[in-house]
Amino acid sequence: MPGRDGSMMRTVSATTQSLEERLERAVRRRRPDVESVRWLERLPAGATQETSVFEVVDQGNPRRSILRRRPDGMPDGDGLSRTTLETEAELLRVVGNSGVPVPRVEFILDASDAMGAGYAMEWIEGETIPRRILRDESYAAARPRLPRQLGEALARIHAVEIDPLPALPRATPAQLVEGQRQALAQHERPQPVLELAVRWLAHRIPPAQPLRLVHGDFRNGNLIVGPEGLRSVLDWELAHLGDPLEDFGWVCANVWRFGVVDQRVGGFGPLEELIEGYVSAGGQAVDASAVLWWEVLASLKWATICLGMYALYTSGLDPSIERATIGRRLSENEIDLLNLIAPLS
């Protein structure tokens, strides 16, 4: 424990230490008896927060953990209505207690750590890369189980009592459509198919439901999967309060099927199985036809995200070739939207 006197001095000097040194200090403050703390690598995920793997050896047992933090000098929250890292950590604790498979939070960084906002959680072994989960032999038995398991996980997320949750953004169906209309209006080039989708959605807005905790980015790519099936649901930074069907539409969107177009739920299996899993874990009965509206919204949202990423390139903020070429993925979105709004068969 730092003493009262000179703690400010210590904090100041700590910021000049390397990340490795500060991490070791943060772990030892909480677990003075560990033998070693070793920073391993930064994972190639997310530019607005840093995700690193580190290893702690305690009584001869090495165990890996994940550190999520805001990089030095970057303010928490990036204006994209993402939750703060403190909120993310608190959410993980709450949903974990409700039976959603998520990594256990180990500690939350505080001012004495001089590392900014962030938290540490357990490392969960498994695969996150969508194409591997969909194609590797190792996950052949997992794939047919995933729609039901994802349904069970969603039922538990949507059952979380919302009063004790940290403050989260709220979004009704009408607000989501308006958000997309505004996102589209920011871009100069006319986009007839996206305009059509906005119009189609606006004419069919579903009745507002009581607000529930919604994951907000529940899809193939944000899951840890083992040979036996779902191990963990990741990336809670877009969690908010809204209509539970928003998560259904997003997990079904064609972009997250990675080419396995006939399997509506993430390329894994049919919507009916997702709903079966959902109901079996206590979720309310879902009308499969009601998911269509949410899938259109999801495809439109991915389209405006692509437009936004391309705008990062044209504005010079992100000069990578990846950002430049994503603009050409808009035509994929157009086909996906037309398949939903005006199917050929």
Partner: protein, 127 residues
């Protein structure tokens, strides 16, 4: 001007250099970006041959659908405006047919391997 190699030949040569030689010397993030670059050049190659006729077809359809004349960009802006205002309904068959044709022509350039594109082509042929 009849310079050879022409633009298409040069781009093909650069793409093949990247995919068959340079990429093998690269690792990690840079290798991934080289792959993105190879795909981007593939788009350019297809665009050089397919874009002209696709734009002509689009312009002809828009003249019929809108009953107006103008540059392609202006016509597309007009189409967007009419969709936004509801002047063209979201179930208008001629509109949907036009949007499908245009989207398929774009995919033929941008990503002809896209599974949903291949599927849509098969379904359109069956009609």
């Amino acid at each position: 001007m009849h310079e050879r190699p022409d633009a298409l030949e040069l781009i093909t040569a650069v793409r093949e250099f990247l995919s068959e030689h340079a990429m093998n010397e690269l690792e990690g993030r840079t290798r991934f970006h080289a792959r993105v670059a190879v795909n981007a050049l593939g788009i350019v190659e297809r665009e050089l041959t397919l874009r002209g006729p696709a734009c002509e077809r689009e312009a002809a359809r828009l003249r019929d659908l809108l009953g107006t004349e103008g540059e392609l960009d202006e016509q597309v802006a007009e189409l967007s405006k009419r969709i936004r205002s509801g002047e063209l309904a979201d179930d208008d068959e001629a509109l949907l047919e036009h949007l499908w044709s245009t989207a398929l022509d774009k995919l033929a350039i941008d990503q002809p391997g896209y599974a949903a594109y291949q599927r849509a082509l098969e379904q359109r042929e069956k009609r």
